[in-house]
Assembly symmetry: C2
Homo-oligomer: 346 residues x 2
């Protein structure tokens, strides 16, 4: 990496700790467990609420935000409240997603709802989201003008709407027999690309970039997000369990409607086949079904198709970054970070 | 009523309809059911998503917001996006509360989660909250300056944090044997008073009031909210079923920790009694327990104590409103609205 990212990570963690410290005033004692549940989710407390250093995620989005701010000539310290806000938005959505997907573990730890029940987990997510909003007002104290702050607020509100829309589609897909490739792209755009895109746009806005440049960073983030999600789909079927930390072909066993499977469905439908559809109509799949499913995915070239889709989006991402025409170590770091997200497959 | 509130209600409803219409652009079809679930909750669609005119609530908060704006000399039309935003915040919290409290009906209709499941209901609430935020940006189009808009945004973000905190306490109380009267007041402050207070403050801000006046409206709203909740606690035990629409002593049967019961617990504890506590340790209460519980509440004067608390808060509310010193039909309407909320009991 061209740039040492450790100072950025440390500053992000400090800002997040600050935001989730809880109210200091008298009489706050009864509500401190609410803040403790959030700190647990972030990886700073264990289930008994003792300090711990657990995996709380890569903090990818806030780093992208700070790097974009710096690349366009801004001071990244100034953008920290926005970077932390974005990370809290991402984590609020994970807390709610875990309830909605009935996931009992995340990053090898029990999820908030699994530990403290669905009602408190919903409210803990809501609280984290509110703190994400309140964090943005700190930008004023760091010299951000009201107009710029409102621009940032609007950008993130819009990204949140896309996040919710993507989640709606994802939940809806579970009840649908078939899903169009367009609806799939709309879903991953909302669930993954929108907030990545906003992270970069917000960084560029706070760094003082003109709208043309902000749009390019937003487009870079969007294409990177799409690439990232499609690579994840590939790894969910063909990934090495030793690397992904998931069981082999995990997305097949859960009948997840990811791009390779959706492509195969459409390929078969166009040709009047229904081999895959017939297997998928079983109430549940077993490991014994995997070889024949992999063979059917092989017949239509689903692996190659999906890899090509990921490559296309990644090429577009690189082009947007190049078109900005900035020569700066932070810009190099953005390119390298982008590459590190996809090198898992090609 | 001094003022005809119908034009206000109509304008609020129109603004809300606009905000929940859903995206008009091409390709939006797959996500329209997400907007339909929100419109169902607002009382505009039935469970089959056909148009209907059901009870969607009194729209109390947005009306308070518009009246405060007008009373201080502003044009209430200008504050409509904020009024609608506040109503959406209130309704997002109801959608989530219904999941958290496992309530299958609200206003005689099935709740969103009861109809479409918990995962979609969580996300529908999240989406409504996001639309509430996006609504505020419309204030710019109506001539609101960036600084004033940020003031409004901050006021509502702060109210949302108190809402979440209050909900945390409410859920936590369910697991506690006893709750202090201070914690109870903190809970109803968050759950009821904070957003009512913000509704009035935001109206006054948008009407151009100076900070001293804004603070008075906020205090009026807070005291009114506390009064309202305490009156609700009285009705939950001694209310006439024909008027409240709930079964007699419904809050007793559900062992709800409302003010009269908490007061009786503390009255007994101070005197070394445990008659009420012993009845409440039963896993569940039956209608046969009600007469003895009512007798114990009578022994310590819980009804009188609670009514006196409500009166105290209501007197404070009136004093704040009077101290503003404005003579305007909208101000009279605020006083009358406040009175109509409490006249159910005194």
């Amino acid at each position: 990496m061209t740039l040492d990212l450790v100072p950025y990570r440390k500053a992000i963690e400090k800002e997040l700790c600050d935001l989730l410290a809880g109210p200091g005033q008298e009489g706050a004692a009864p509500i401190l467990p609410l803040y403790a549940m959030m700190r647990y989710h972030m990886g700073w407390l264990d289930a008994d609420l003792n300090p711990v250093e657990a995996d709380g995620g890569k903090r990818l989005r806030p780093i992208l935000c700070l790097l974009a701010c710096e690349a366009v000539g801004g001071h990244w310290h100034m953008a920290l409240p926005a970077a932390a806000s974005i990370e809290l938005i991402h984590n609020f959505s994970l807390i709610h997603d875990d309830i909605e997907d009935h996931s009992e573990t995340r990053r090898h730890r029990r999820t908030v709802w699994a530990l403290w029940g669905v009602p408190q987990a919903i409210n803990t997510g809501d609280t984290m989201w509110t703190l994400a909003r309140l964090a943005l007002h700190r930008l004023s104290d760091r010299g951000c003008s009201p107009t710029t702050l409102l621009h940032v607020v609007r950008q993130l509100d819009q990204a949140c709407l896309e996040l919710c829309t993507g989640q709606y589609l994802d939940l809806w897909f579970e009840t649908q027999e078939s899903v169009s490739l367009e609806a799939y792209e709309q879903m991953i755009h909302g669930k993954t690309a929108a907030l990545l895109s906003a992270s970069l746009a917000v960084g560029a806005i706070l760094g003082g970039a003109e709208q043309r440049v902000v749009n390019r960073y937003a487009a870079f983030g969007r294409e990177l997000g799409l690439t990232f999600q499609i690579v994840d789909d590939i790894l969910g079927i063909w990934g090495d369990p030793a690397v992904t930390g998931k069981s082999a072909a995990s997305d097949i066993l859960t009948k997840k409607k990811t791009l390779p499977v959706l492509y195969a469905f459409h390929w078969e439908a166009e040709r009047g086949y229904d081999d895959l559809a017939r297997i998928y109509t079983q109430p549940s799949l077993s490991p014994d079904d995997i070889p024949s499913i992999l063979a059917l995915l092989g017949r239509c070239g689903a692996h190659e198709y999906t890899r090509e889709q990921a490559r296309t989006h990644y090429r577009r991402a690189e082009n947007h970054l190049r078109a900005i025409g900035i020569d700066h170590p932070a810009q190099d770091a953005l390119r390298e970070l982008g590459h590190s997200l996809v090198e898992r497959t090609f």
